[in-house]
Amino acid sequence: MHLGLDDDELVACVACGLCLPHCPTFVITGRDTESPRGRIALMRAVQNEGAPVTDDLLRSMETCVQCRGCETACPSAVPFGHLMEGTRAALAGAGRITPRWQRLAMRMLRHRRLLLAGSTLLALTIRLRLVPTRRLGLPARMPLRRPPLRTSGDDVWLFTGCVMDAWQRDVHLAVQRVLEAAGVGVEPTGGAAPCCGALHIHAGLEAETKDMARQVMAGLSGDDRPILVDAAGCGASLKDYGHLLGTDEARAFSARVFDVHEWLAGRLDELKSRRPVEPLDVTVAVQDPCHLRHVQRAHQAVPAVLVPFVASVVALDDDGLCCGAGGAYSVMEAELSRAIRDRKTAAVARSGATVVASANPGCSLHLAAAGLDVRHPLELVDQALSASG
């Protein structure tokens, strides 16, 4: 089976193995089939040597969290993310991965009203204890009501997305208050850009993702305002539109996208000068979302933004290893996902921190489900600002 992978990208791995300690699934299983180097060798076997696509090969591909920790570890800069996305697109296209129910669920993310209504219904059933939240990896409590999004100016867009807007709108509002405190007028994207398509591309639904990318770009066209993103996964996805669609327009769009911390890090003085701030009396461990650290490579902006606003920021000692959330991964591969998370919770425990700051909703839900007190970094900043206000 030809996987449609670029041959030059595919042969770029020399199998040195330096990715192994940075792969969450290899670290847990110790098996080459669950390693980046092994997965690439299997892709080659299938595409170049005519090896059959067996169930075990599918498992090898499906167990990848797509954290891309292997990319920052690779001295030869093998674009593993593209190879894995391409492989999944080919396998999903052939109906070998991503079952129909998953495709249907993902289709819903594009339909904002349906998603919001469905989320409210889900929140209600959780309150009534009709849903085994722990087993399904769902949050123990979800909002029944969402305060409305509001526009305060036209300096920047704040990308609100799908699930995050439905489940964690409080975070968007906190981020917006922080931006406003820095003197920035914010317009939330809301219905103009319903979903970035990150989960879809990870599941191999390439055509659908392209469709969604065009929809988002159309919704945010007409000016060149920066598009700020407070979810690392969405930010990485929006920044990749240039590569995904391969058009000048898409590249120009991607150039407008910034992780909100990345953008604020250059404007900290502005934020601090507005009013004196008393740092919050908490020790915060920063969890680097993989799509901020390995894909956007902007993770250092988070501690930079946090430091003035909290008593202490501590780094985790686990080399930024993935937490196992991986978007839909925590549901699809629950067992592995939790084993990976156990390493992260152990690292948090070693750090002595009481609060974990995570700049990605998937990671934050996943870690909160393990009993950690997880906040978005800018929620902490917002809290410090409002306490000092």
């Binding site: 300690p21 005519g50 090896a51």
Partner: protein
Amino acid sequence: MARTLAAATRRVLGSRRRGDRAAAAPAAGAADAALVADLVEAIGADRVRADAAARYLASRDASIYKEGNAGPVCYPGTTSDVVACVKVATRHGRAVSPRGAGTGLSGGAAPLGRPVVLSTTRMDRLLEIDLDNGVAWVQPGMVNLDLTRALAPHGVHYAPDPSSQAACTIGGNVGNNAGGPHCLAYGVTSAHVAAVEVVLSDGSVVTLGDLTAEPAGYDLRGAFVGSEGMCGIATAVAVRLTRNPPAVRTMLLSFDDVSDAATTVSAIIAAGIVPAAIEMMDQRCVRAVEDFAQAGYPKEAAAVLLVEVDGAAGGVAIAADRVAGIARRNQAVSVRTAADDGERARLWKGRKSAFGAVANVMPDYYLHDTVVPRTRLVEVLERIYDIVDRHDLLVLNVFHAGDGNLHPILAYDSRVPGAEERVHAAGREIIEMSLDMGGALTGEHGIGVEKREYMDRMFSPVDLDQQSRLRASFDPHCRMNPGKVLPSAHSCSDIGALKAADAAGVWG
């Protein structure tokens, strides 16, 4: 019980297409069903994999050797798991090949004759830190760098630091008697292993060496370290702990001429200085690594030396000044000292990612690991560039200059017809030339299968026969990692063990 076991075995053998079971071809590896069933019974279904994908990947290491053929792959967690696997394999007349992280460069971990592969990745625990005796007991699957990190709070480290130390395992290091940049001053693995617990081919467990300074009797520990898995499987290793030096200084010297760099190396040693490390990279290598490491390596230099001196602060300062002086007298164009630990780490990261960075130049590489007398480095390097030019190939030179351990990386694209043949021809010439200069076949990567055919170029039949007899005293039936190191004429019944192999396609 029997039914669950049968189900577990089927699961382990695996590999049928979902929803298409009737039409599926027989599961790959079905010939091993009885063996797999016994392995599953011995150590549990979650520790055995026999499907095509798992065996395909267990058949290779980081070398270009792709002819390995793995049987079932086991992931033991304890010494008794290893014993159980060895006994099952023996009962089925099958050999056993150990595997660490698969970062080896000589095909040493590539299994021959479809043996049971024992992957040590789940034997990765630090068992005990014994500061009184200056050792730590570790399981063989522990990653080299993880060990040093775990030791950091005690102010000690594990000295041998192969370039692949972030991924490679202590077991593999012991098997290959691995080196590393800092082995110039501190010695290679053999000097840092006090004792090894080994499972022999009959399933018995012995401890070779002990923690005393002068163990009585034969140095079986010394014989075992570097035996490439052919004498038994290491299941626990007592590694020596080295105190962290109070002061370290890392210098980057750059040159417009490769010969000046090589001359500087000899001059430093001749001056009586023994740096912790002297590493050399030529221009092509620097260019390959710098984009990744962002360490500030000068891309325009013809060659750079990375020199590290350590010890007491006063002595380090003096040694560093002397090294800088020697370099300048030998036409160094710049001498830079790492300002802090961050810069030092970036410089080492660049050096240690050299092999992995080759794909920035070409998608495949083949390298040799010969050792030449340091005094002849200048001449040897000229010869290497000449050989490579004649075969119309690219070479990246990166090596442990202080001890004359070369790593000429022949970079090529295996998709180009004839490239592989030219690479092997050039490799052969480099080896012959190195041996003619009074050098050795391998410094630290091992012989494996790749360099096996050159053994009789270096050793006489008598030498080889003695090596073979030593091996046979550990493993009389050649059941442990057969087919490695010794040329076939000298390797007891390896040939018999290898005959168990059957024809294998892509998915074996």
